[in-house]
C-alpha cells in the first residue's frame, strides 16, 4: 500500500500542469474556472478540440483510438491537474467517460470506427437518454418505444433530466423495442443523432434559474439499425455496463472542483471572522475531512480494480459526494449569512457559493437519489432483502 507517486509519474504531473497552465492562462483564459455548466458552449467545444489536438481528450483510451493508454496513476494525475488548473468541466463527459468505454467494451468494430474518433477529436458531443417522466429513479419503467422500420429504428417517447442535451450532437437512448415487455426486458440501447426533425429539446429551468437539464421529445426520430449497441432486448445490460464507468477517474477531477468550492468557503469564513468561531471551525474541519476521505476512497476504489472491497467503496461513492456537497452548500450559506443571499441586480448567474447551495440540492437526486443509493448499498452491498415492487 502506497500513497506517493513515482518520479516518472511526478514528471507526468508537471507536464500536465504546465500545459494546462499555458492553456488556461493563455488562449482559454476566458473559460478558466467556469463552474457554471451552461456558459459559453462554443468556447467549451473549442476546448474539447484543443484537448484532442494534444491527445489529452481521452488519455485512458487505447492509443489506436486516440488515447494514450495511460496507466491508472497517470489518469489520476491527469484528472487532478486538469481540475487544479481550473480547466472547465468537460462538455463531453458522457462521450469520453461513459459511451466511449462502453463502445470499447461492447461495441461492434463498425460502431467503434464510426463513433470513437469523433469523441476523441472532440467533434461529437454526447448526452444520455435514460430517465423519463414516469421513470425517474425507476429506470425499468421506461416507456419510450422504438419500432423497426426497414434499416432503421423509429423512436417515440420522452426523456427527461437530460443534461446538456441543448449542446449535444448525439444521444444514447434506452428504449423499449419489444411490445408487451415490461421492466428490464425488451429494452435496447440506441445511438441517435439529435439533429433531425423527429427530436425536440426543451430546457428545464432549475432552482438556480439556469437550465442544464432538458426534456427530449422523440416523435418519429430515426437511427440506423446498426446504431444499436449489444443485442436487441439487451439494452439493460448495456446500460448497466455504461453506468459502471460512472464512478471512475473523473471523480478525482470532480473533487478538485469540490476543493475549489471548499476553499471559497474557507476564504469567506476568514473574511468575515467565522473562521475564528469554534462552532464553525468544527464544521469546516468536517468538510475538510469529508473531502479528503472522498479522495482516498476514490483511490481505493481505483486501486482495487473490480475485486473485494470495491463493491463497497464504489457503491458508497455517489451518496458520499452528493451528501458532502449538499452539506458544504449549507455550510457556505451559514458562513456567509445574509450576504450569501444577494447578488447585484444585473447579475446573470448566482455567485459560486449561492449556486453551490442551490445546485447541490440536485446532486442528491439526479443519477440515483440518496434513497435509491441506500437501497442499492443495503441490497447489493449488505445483501438485505430487496424492496418489493408494487402491482402497477
Amino acid at each position: 500500500m502506497k500513497l506517493g507517486f513515482s518520479d516518472m509519474e511526478e514528471a507526468f504531473r508537471r507536464e500536465c500542469a504546465s500545459w494546462f497552465e499555458d492553456q488556461m492562462a493563455g488562449e482559454f483564459a476566458d473559460i478558466r474556472g467556469i463552474a457554471n455548466l451552461v456558459d459559453k458552449p462554443e468556447r467549451r467545444k473549442a476546448w474539447e478540440r484543443r484537448l484532442a489536438e494534444h491527445r489529452y481528450s481521452c488519455i485512458g483510451w487505447p492509443i489506436a483510438w486516440g488515447g494514450r493508454d495511460a496507466t491508472l496513476n497517470e489518469q489520476v494525475i491527469f484528472a487532478e491537474e486538469y481540475a487544479r488548473a481550473g480547466a472547465p468541466n468537460r462538455l463531453n463527459h458522457m462521450g469520453v467517460e461513459l459511451l466511449g468505454p462502453t463502445l470499447l467494451a461492447l461495441g461492434s468494430s463498425e460502431q467503434k470506427a464510426r463513433f470513437l474518433p469523433a469523441i476523441a477529436e472532440g467533434t461529437a458531443i454526447w448526452c444520455q437518454g435514460y430517465s423519463e417522466p414516469g421513470a425517474g429513479s425507476d429506470l425499468a419503467a421506461i416507456r419510450t418505444r422504438a419500432r423497426r422500420d426497414g434499416d432503421e429504428w423509429v423512436v417515440e417517447g420522452q426523456k427527461i433530466w437530460t443534461s446538456l442535451a441543448q449542446f449535444a450532437d448525439m444521444i444514447f437512448v434506452l428504449a423499449r423495442t419489444e411490445d408487451g415487455t415490461s421492466g428490464r426486458e425488451g429494452l435496447s440501447f440506441l445511438l441517435v443523432d439529435l439533429d433531425q426533425p423527429g427530436i425536440e429539446i426543451r430546457p428545464i429551468r432549475q432552482i438556480n434559474g439556469e437550465a442544464e437539464f432538458n426534456e427530449v421529445f422523440f416523435d418519429g426520430a430515426r437511427c440506423p439499425v446498426a446504431n444499436m449497441v449489444g443485442a436487441e432486448g439487451e439494452g439493460w445490460t448495456v446500460s448497466t455496463t455504461l453506468l459502471s464507468f460512472e464512478r471512475g477517474i473523473s471523480t478525482l477531477g470532480q473533487q478538485m472542483q469540490f476543493r475549489n468550492e471548499l476553499d471559497a468557503v474557507i476564504a469567506a469564513a476568514k473574511r468575515n471572522g467565522k473562521a475564528a468561531d469554534p462552532v464553525f471551525r468544527q464544521r469546516l474541519a468536517e468538510a475538510e475531512i469529508g473531502l479528503r476521505l472522498m479522495r482516498y476512497g476514490a483511490l481505493r476504489m481505483l486501486a482495487d480494480g473490480k475485486g473485494g472491497a470495491l463493491a463497497g467503496a464504489a457503491l458508497t461513492y455517489k451518496i458520499q459526494w452528493a451528501s458532502w456537497r449538499r452539506a458544504l452548500g449549507e455550510l457556505a450559506m451559514d458562513v456567509l449569512g445574509q450576504e450569501g443571499e444577494v447578488a447585484p441586480v444585473d447579475a446573470e448567474a448566482w455567485p459560486l457559493l449561492a449556486n453551490l447551495y442551490l445546485y447541490s440540492r440536485a446532486d442528491t437526486i439526479y443519477g440515483g437519489t440518496n434513497q435509491i443509493q441506500r437501497n442499492l448499498i443495503a441490497e447489493r452491498g449488505l445483501g438485505l432483502p430487496r424492496e418489493p415492487r408494487g402491482n402497477a
Binding site: A141, I207, E330
Partner: protein, 336 residues
C-alpha cells in the same frame, strides 16, 4: 394554564388561513416576485381582514390583540409564502407602541393600518445592512446598537439587490439620516422580539405547508409500481419532520404567550423559537425538494420558494448559533 387556541383565536386562524389560501396563490406570489410585494394582497390583509391594526389598542383604532394572534396570522402568511411586508409592519407597530411617541404614532399608524404605508425593518448586521423590502418601502425601521430609527424611505440611500428569496427581497441600506425613536434599547428589544416571533411563526407555517404538500405528493407519485409514500424511508423522513413541526408549534405558542404575559421565560422562549423553527423549516424545505425528486429542483415547482424563504428566515434577526448561544448564556446563569 390553558395551552390551546381559544374560540376567538381558532376563528382568527381559520379566517387567516382561508384568506391566504384564496389570495396568496402560487401564481400571485410568483407575479409579485418581480417587485417584491403583492400590494393588493397587503391592502386586503390590512383592510378587508382588518389585521392592519392587529396588535394596535382599540382606542387607537386597532383590534387590540396580542402576540398570540400575531403568531397565528404570521403562521398562515408563512404557509403561502405571501409576498407581504408583515414582518416590518409588525416590528414597526411594536416599536411605535413601545415608544409611547404619540406624535409618531399619529403620523404613521393610521396609514400603516390601512396598508398604505409600507414599513421595512432590519438590523445592522456584520458587513452591512441588508433589509427585507428596503427597496419597496415607504418607511424604514432600523435597529442599531442602543436605539431604533424610523425613517422616511426617501431619506435613505438604498441599493436594490437580486435576492435568493424573491418573495421578500433584501436591499442594502447604505446611508441614512433621521432621528432615533425615543425609548432606546428597550424599544429596540420590543421590535426585535416581535420580529423574532413573527419569523418563527412564519417558519412554522412554511414548514407545515411544505410537509403537507410533500405528504400529498407522496400519495400521488408512484415509483417501482408503488406510491412513493409507501416506502418506509420516505415515511420515516416525513415522520421526523412532523415531530419537529409539533415541537416548533410548541415553541411558537410558548414564545407568543410568554411575550403577552411577560413570563419569566420570555427571552429563552424567543431564542428557542427562532432557532428551532428556522432549523425545522430548513430541514422540511430541503426534504421537500429531495422527496419530490427531479421535479423538486425545477423552477416551476414551488419547492424552491419554500427552500429559499427558509434560508432567508434562518439568516434574519440572528442565526441559529447566535440564538443558541443566547440560550446557553441564560441557562448557564451568565449575564444576558
Amino acid at each position: 394554564m390553558a395551552f390551546a387556541l381559544d374560540e376567538q383565536q381558532q376563528m382568527i386562524a381559520e379566517t387567516a388561513a382561508a384568506f391566504f389560501a384564496e389570495n396568496a396563490t402560487s401564481e400571485r406570489t410568483r407575479a409579485a416576485m418581480a417587485n417584491g410585494i403583492d400590494r393588493d394582497l397587503w391592502r386586503g390583509y390590512c383592510r378587508e381582514l382588518g389585521f392592519g391594526g392587529l396588535m394596535v389598542p382599540e382606542d387607537l383604532g386597532g383590534a387590540g390583540l396580542g402576540h398570540v394572534e400575531l403568531a397565528i396570522v404570521a403562521e398562515q402568511a408563512g404557509r403561502t409564502l405571501a409576498a407581504i411586508p408583515l414582518l416590518g409592519h409588525a416590528m414597526a407597530t411594536a416599536a411605535l407602541l413601545a415608544s409611547g411617541d404619540r406624535a409618531a404614532i399619529d403620523v404613521h399608524l393610521p396609514a400603516m393600518m390601512a396598508g398604505d404605508r409600507i414599513v421595512a425593518a432590519g438590523e445592522r448586521g456584520g458587513e452591512g445592512m441588508l433589509v427585507p423590502h428596503a427597496a419597496q418601502c415607504d418607511l424604514l425601521l432600523l435597529l442599531c446598537e442602543g436605539g431604533s430609527h424610523l425613517i422616511d424611505a426617501s431619506a435613505a440611500t438604498v441599493e436594490p439587490l437580486k435576492s435568493l428569496d424573491e418573495t421578500r427581497p433584501l436591499a442594502r441600506v447604505l446611508a441614512l439620516a433621521g432621528d432615533p425613536l425615543p425609548g432606546g434599547a428597550a424599544l429596540c428589544e420590543a421590535a426585535r422580539a416581535t420580529g423574532v416571533l413573527c419569523l418563527a411563526a412564519e417558519a412554522l407555517g412554511g414548514a407545515q405547508e411544505a410537509l403537507d404538500r410533500t405528504v400529498a405528493f407522496a400519495h400521488e407519485r408512484e415509483q417501482f409500481g408503488r406510491p412513493v409514500g409507501s416506502f418506509q424511508a420516505y415515511k420515516h423522513r416525513l415522520a421526523d419532520r412532523a415531530v419537529e413541526i409539533e415541537q416548533a408549534r410548541s415553541a411558537v405558542w410558548w414564545a407568543a404567550c410568554a411575550l403577552d404575559e411577560g413570563h419569566e421565560t420570555r427571552a429563552l422562549a424567543l431564542h428557542a423559537a427562532k432557532s428551532f423553527c428556522a432549523d425545522t423549516y430548513l430541514r422540511v424545505a430541503g426534504d421537500m425538494i429531495q422527496l419530490h425528486g427531479g421535479i423538486g429542483f425545477t423552477w416551476e415547482h414551488d419547492a424552491h420558494l419554500f427552500f429559499k424563504r427558509a434560508r432567508a428566515i434562518a439568516n434574519m434577526l440572528g442565526d441559529g448559533p447566535h440564538h443558541r448561544e443566547r440560550v446557553a448564556r441564560i441557562m448557564l446563569d451568565e449575564a444576558a
